[in-house]
């Protein structure tokens, strides 16, 4: 049977130092962004730093629609050692619809690798994602298996958002996005994260706070991504 997890509070100082490192190093991208890869012959770096899990991925797209890279995810449980999954990641676009004023995608993303920590052994994380967005509205739904021997952190998430106004290609566009996410064997079972997203042609940054939104449970989350 799967073990029940209670997630330990994530160290705020770790968030701060990680944020600083990300900003200084300019290396990161959101695991739940609409774009999971760059363009032909580009590299993309994405990260998510939150109280409940941390993740980063670096991939390279030799051609549009396919990217391969490396990924590391870390999930910590209360009273347990954290489990880190390190693996090789593939991202593929199953279908894209380019509409006059919108775009929709179905993506496959997954890693195979090794889990170490509370759980050890072969790990795999296949996922499917659907997203649709215009210059003003955004919706995403994603399901992901996160498995290793005796471990199950399967997740499902939906996001919806809107931009405050349209911008030019060279401007930064602010968005409000709210995410509802469930992760098996995790607490809280339903994580709700309202966030402010800033999109520029050079970066994607998102800062949100996951429930509970006050007291000891205060859980900030940063997503960032850069394409080279």
């Amino acid at each position: 049977m799967f073990k029940q997890h209670h997630v330990a509070p994530f160290n705020i100082s770790l968030v701060s130092s990680s944020l600083g490192a990300l900003l200084l190093g300019q290396i990161a991208l959101s695991a739940h962004a609409a774009a999971l890869m760059g363009f032909e012959d580009s590299a993309m770096l994405m990260s998510e730093i939150g109280r409940y899990n941390q993740e980063w991925m670096l991939n390279y797209s030799p051609t549009f629609g396919h990217a391969i890279g490396v990924e590391q995810m870390r999930m910590s449980g209360k009273g347990e050692r954290a489990t880190t999954i390190s693996g090789i990641n593939y991202t593929g676009i199953i279908k894209r619809w380019n509409l006059p004023a919108a775009q929709a995608n179905v993506w496959f993303n997954g890693s195979v690798g090794e889990a170490r920590g509370q759980y050890d052994g072969f790990a795999y994380t296949p996922s499917l994602q659907f997203d649709v967005e215009s210059t003003r509205l955004y919706f995403l739904a994603k399901a992901r298996m996160i498995r290793a021997p005796h471990m199950n952190f399967d997740t499902a998430a939906v996001q919806a958002g809107f931009s405050f106004y349209e911008t030019g290609f060279n401007d930064t566009q602010p968005w409000f996005v709210i995410e509802a996410k469930t992760m098996r064997n995790n607490d809280p079972g339903l994580q709700v994260t309202p966030a402010l997203r800033l999109i520029n042609k050079n970066y994607f940054l998102e800062f949100g706070v996951t429930n509970p939104w006050q007291g000891e449970g205060f859980a900030p989350r940063l997503n960032a991504m850069f394409v080279f």
């Binding site: 549009f64 004023a101 911008t167 520029n200």
Partner: protein
């Protein structure tokens, strides 16, 4: 003699006046600057590029060519498609990118597309 001078001046000026060639396209699916960065990066890497312009709201991508140089419509479309988008309309115009940019800005300011 006067007419000859006028004709010579016109023949000297006319090619220059119409030497500007810009490939202008309407692109579907281009809704996010971060995602469309690839288009700009690829266009800027073209040795034939004089100037390039990308606008999300009007969905316009334009490439002004250096005088005497050319990029085929197919090659231009491939840049767009390799970035993940599709071209819905493509034309060659005798306008600079700066003029197109100003037109787009004026149209948007007027509340049009």
């Amino acid at each position: 003699m006067k007419k000859l001078w006028i004709a010579l001046m016109l023949s000297a000026m006319t090619p220059a006046a119409f030497a500007v060639t810009t490939i202008k396209a309407e692109v579907n699916g281009m809704v996010c600057a971060f995602c469309a960065k690839g288009i700009e990066k690829k266009l800027n890497a073209l040795p034939q590029k004089q100037a390039a312009f990308v606008d999300l709201k009007s969905r316009v991508v334009a490439l002004q060519l250096k005088e005497g140089q050319d990029v085929s419509n197919e090659a231009f479309s491939k840049v767009i498609e390799d970035a993940g988008y599709s071209v819905s309309k493509l034309e060659r115009v005798n306008q600079t990118v700066a003029v197109i940019q100003a037109d787009v800005a004026n149209t948007e300011k007027a509340g049009g597309k």
